[in-house]
C-alpha cells in the first residue's frame, strides 16, 4: 500500500501534522475521510488540537458541515435512546446499550464526531419477545422480508433490524454479541454481570470498558461490514487511548478476553490499532494478547495482508489489485466464523440466488445515505 493510501490513518495517528498540510494533501484527506465516514472525526481532532486557523479557507466548510451532521446524529441518538429506554422500562430488566449509542450515552470521546447507521441494544434472551412487542406498539417494526426474518431469528444474535415507522431510525435488538452458531461463544450472562449502570436511566447499562473494547473488536474482525472498517478501527483506537490511561484496564484486558472466548479478535484489534493508528499498547499486553490470540504460521501473515486492505478508507485511491479479493475472502471468513459449514452452504446459495441478506442490508443503509446520511435521512418536517 502506498503512502497516499494510508494518508487518513497516518494523520489520525498524528493529528499535530494537520497544522502543516498543503492544499493538495487536504484535497486527498477530505475525500478519504468523507468516504470513511470520518470527516466529523477529523473536525474533532482539528478542534481538540486548536488547529482550525491552520486549515485553508476552502477546506473549512467541509469540516464544519461534517461537524453539523455528527452533532445532529449524536442528538438524534440521544433522543431515540431516551424514547427506547422509556419504552423498555416496562420490562423491568437491564438494557445494555452497545457500540456507538453507548459511547454517546456514557459520554465517551469515541462519540465525538461520529455518525451512526443504527442503534444497538441488548436484553437477556428471555425478554426479547416481550421487548419486541413493546417496541412494536411504539412504531418500531421489523424491516426484513420473511426469509431474512427467519434467518435472523434462527441463527443470529439479534432480531431482524427494527425501524421506526416515522423517523426511519434503525434499531438492532441483540441478546448476545455474536450469533448462536458462531465458533467463539462469549457468554452473555458475563457481559450483563459486568455491565455498568448509566446515570439518569434506571434500566440503562453499558458494557464495562474491557467488554466494550472486546465487543468493538469482535464486531470489526468478525463481521462482513468492512464498509465501516476504518471508522470501527478508529472507534477501537479512541476507546483504547481513553480507557488505557488507567493501568487497571490494561491489567485485566487480556484475561477478560480469554474469559469471554474473544482472544483472537482482541489480538487483531490491538495489532492493527498499533500498526495503523499508532495506538499506545503496553508491550507486555501486546505479547500476552499475541500468545493467546495470534493465528499460527502462514495464516498470521495472510490475515495481516487481508486486513491491511480491508481497513483503510473505502476510496478508489486506497485500493490495489489485491483489495477486492481480500474483501471477498474476509466476507467468506465472516460467515465461516458465524456458523458451521453445513449451515453455511444453503445460506450462501440462498444469498446468491434469492436474497443477498447482508448486501441488501447494506444497501438499505446506503439508501439512507444520499438523502442526508443515515439516521436523519427521510426525517423531514411532516
Amino acid at each position: 500500500m502506498d503512502k497516499q493510501a494510508t494518508l487518513l490513518f497516518s494523520l489520525l495517528a498524528r493529528p499535530q501534522k494537520l497544522a502543516d498540510l498543503d492544499m493538495p494533501t487536504w484535497d486527498v484527506l477530505i475525500r478519504q475521510a468523507r468516504n470513511a465516514d470520518l470527516l466529523g472525526r477529523v473536525y474533532e481532532l482539528v478542534a481538540e488540537h486548536q488547529l482550525f486557523d491552520a486549515v485553508p479557507l476552502p477546506v473549512r466548510p467541509h469540516l464544519l458541515s461534517a461537524r453539523r451532521v455528527a452533532r445532529r446524529h449524536t442528538a438524534m441518538v440521544g433522543f431515540e435512546l431516551g424514547n427506547l429506554l422509556g419504552i423498555l422500562a416496562k420490562l423491568d430488566t437491564p438494557v445494555v446499550v452497545l457500540k456507538g449509542a453507548a459511547y454517546v450515552l456514557a459520554g465517551l470521546p469515541a462519540a465525538a464526531g461520529r455518525v451512526f447507521s443504527d442503534i444497538d441494544l441488548m436484553v437477556a434472551k428471555e425478554h426479547l419477545d416481550e421487548a419486541e412487542k413493546l417496541l412494536k406498539i411504539q412504531a418500531w417494526v421489523a424491516s426484513a422480508d420473511s426469509y431474512d426474518d427467519k434467518y435472523y431469528r434462527k441463527w443470529m444474535h439479534e432480531l431482524p433490524p427494527l425501524q421506526h415507522l416515522k423517523r426511519h431510525t434503525l434499531l438492532d435488538l441483540h441478546h448476545a454479541i455474536l450469533p448462536q452458531t458462531a465458533r467463539l461463544k462469549p457468554d452473555s450472562d458475563k457481559l450483563f454481570a459486568a455491565a455498568v449502570p448509566v446515570d439518569g436511566y434506571p434500566n440503562a447499562f453499558v458494557l464495562c470498558p474491557q467488554d466494550m473494547v472486546l465487543h468493538s473488536a469482535t464486531h470489526l474482525f468478525h463481521d462482513d461490514e468492512f464498509k465501516h472498517g476504518a471508522r470501527d478501527l478508529v472507534d477501537l483506537d479512541t476507546l483504547l487511548r481513553y480507557f488505557g490511561k488507567d493501568d487497571a484496564f490494561w491489567q485485566s484486558l487480556v484475561s477478560r478476553g480469554e474469559t469471554m472466548d474473544l482472544s483472537r479478535p482482541l489480538y487483531y484489534a490491538l495489532r492493527f490499532c498499533q500498526r495503523l493508528l499508532d495506538t499506545p499498547v503496553p508491550e507486555l499486553v501486546m505479547a500476552q494478547a499475541a500468545r493467546l490470540g495470534r493465528p499460527v504460521g502462514p495464516l498470521a501473515w495472510l490475515m495481516d495482508k487481508l486486513f491491511e486492505r480491508a481497513l483503510p478508507a473505502d476510496h478508489p485511491m486506497c485500493v490495489d489489485s489485491f483489495t477486492p479479493l481480500a474483501k471477498w475472502l474476509l466476507y467468506l471468513r465472516s460467515h465461516y466464523l458465524r456458523m458451521p459449514f453445513h449451515l453455511l452452504i444453503p445460506h450462501l446459495l440462498h444469498k446468491a440466488f434469492i436474497s443477498p441478506i447482508n448486501a441488501r442490508r447494506m444497501e438499505k443503509k446506503a439508501e439512507n445515505r444520499p438523502t442526508i446520511e443515515g439516521l436523519i435521512a427521510e426525517n423531514k418536517a411532516p
Partner: protein, 322 residues
C-alpha cells in the same frame, strides 16, 4: 480564464486526464470523464464559468460507461464521486442530465454550511424572489422566463440560504432544467438562450437545460436578500393571479422542500424564520409568461426593503451554532 477559452479538444483531453477544474458558484468542481463527447456539452453549458487554479476541489466527480457487455448494445453512463455512486446508471444520452443531478446530490448531501432548499431563486435590484418546487409546479419554466427577461439567476434547483448573513441567498448559477413542453415554450419565448443536449425518456420525461446567462455567472459571488416567496402553478389557459398566503404555512412548505433543515437543527430553524420574516408570500397561478413577468416585476419593485426587513435587522440576535 473561463472554460470556453479552451478548445473542445483541449477540454476533452483535460477531462480525460487529471480533470477540468472550474468554479460553480461558491464551489470548485473537478470533472473527469472517459466519455467521448462530454467536453462539447460542458463547453456549451458551463463555458463562461471561471477556470479554477485552486489545488483543493470541493467535489471530484466522474462520468464513465460502466463495464460489462451491456455497454455494446445499451450504452450507459455512471456518475461517481470518489468511487461512490449515488444513482443507478442511466442511458448514455442522459449523461449531461446525470452530471447535473450528480452535482445536485453532492451539494445537497454535503454542504451544510448553508440551509439548502429545493427552490429556484432569481434577483432584481438586489432582492431575491424564491420559488419552492413541489414537482410539476412549473417553477423552472417561470425561472427561465424571468432570467431571459434580465432577472439574475441565483439558482434553478438549490437555494443556498446563508447561516451567517441572515436572510441572504448565495448564488449557484448553473443550467436551468426544463422538462417536456417547457423546452419548446422557452425556445419560442427566448430564442436567444442556449439550450443544451436533449435527453428523452428520463425519470422526469424529456429533459433539456438552458445555460445560465454569462451575466449571472459573472456576478456569481453577489448574494441577494430574500424578499418574495412565490408558490407558482402553471395552469393552461389561466390568467395571472397572485394571492397572499400565510407565512407560517409557507414556512412548513419550505421546511418540507429543504434537504438539510433537520441536519442544522435550531440553526436551520432560525435561518428559515429569517427568510419568512423578510418575505411577502403569495400563491401564483399563470399560463402566459408575457403576462406574469411584468406582474412579478411590479410586485418586487413595489415591495422595496420592507418594514419587516428593517425590524428583523435590528432584532435578529443571530443564530448560534450551539
Amino acid at each position: 480564464m473561463i472554460v470556453a477559452d479552451y478548445s473542445e479538444e483541449a477540454l476533452q483531453s483535460l477531462i480525460a486526464g487529471s480533470g477540468l477544474r472550474f468554479d460553480v458558484g461558491p464551489f470548485v468542481v473537478n470533472l473527469q470523464s472517459s466519455l467521448d463527447n462530454f467536453a462539447a456539452d460542458i463547453r456549451l453549458m458551463y463555458g463562461t464559468c471561471p477556470l479554477s487554479t485552486q489545488s483543493f476541489a470541493d467535489f471530484h466527480v466522474r462520468l464513465d460507461q460502466p463495464f460489462g457487455l451491456r455497454r455494446w448494445f445499451r450504452p450507459q453512463t455512471n456518475f461517481t464521486q470518489d468511487g461512490r455512486t449515488p444513482f443507478k446508471p442511466l442511458p448514455l444520452e442522459q449523461s449531461f442530465a446525470m452530471f447535473e443531478w450528480g452535482l445536485n446530490w453532492c451539494v445537497s448531501s454535503q454542504c451544510h454550511q448553508y440551509l439548502i432548499v429545493h427552490a429556484a431563486v432569481v434577483e432584481r435590484a438586489g432582492l431575491a424572489l424564491i420559488m419552492p418546487a413541489p414537482p410539476g409546479s412549473g417553477k423552472s419554466t417561470l425561472c427561465a422566463g424571468l432570467v431571459a427577461r434580465g432577472w439574475r439567476l441565483l439558482t434553478d434547483e438549490l437555494a443556498l440560504v446563508s447561516l451567517e448573513q441572515p436572510g441572504e441567498v448565495i448564488a449557484l448559477p448553473r443550467p436551468i432544467s426544463l422538462k417536456n413542453e417547457s423546452i419548446d415554450v422557452i425556445r419560442e419565448f427566448a430564442p436567444q438562450q442556449v439550450i443544451g443536449p436533449i435527453a428523452h425518456d428520463t425519470a422526469k420525461g424529456t429533459v433539456a437545460h438552458m445555460a445560465a446567462p454569462p451575466e449571472s455567472i459573472r456576478r456569481g459571488t453577489e448574494t441577494a436578500t430574500s424578499r418574495l416567496l412565490i408558490f407558482p402553478k402553471y395552469i393552461p389557459g389561466a390568467s395571472t393571479s397572485i394571492v397572499p398566503r400565510q407565512k407560517a404555512a409557507s414556512f412548513m412548505e419550505l421546511a418540507e422542500q429543504s434537504f438539510n433543515f433537520n441536519v442544522l437543527g435550531e440553526l436551520g430553524f432560525q435561518a428559515l424564520k429569517q427568510v419568512l420574516d423578510n418575505c411577502d408570500c403569495y400563491d401564483l397561478s399563470y399560463s402566459d409568461l408575457d403576462d406574469v413577468i411584468p406582474a412579478l416585476e411590479q410586485l418586487i419593485d413595489a415591495s422595496g426593503a420592507s418594514p419587516a426587513l428593517d425590524a428583523s435587522l435590528t432584532n435578529s440576535g443571530g443564530a448560534t451554532d450551539g
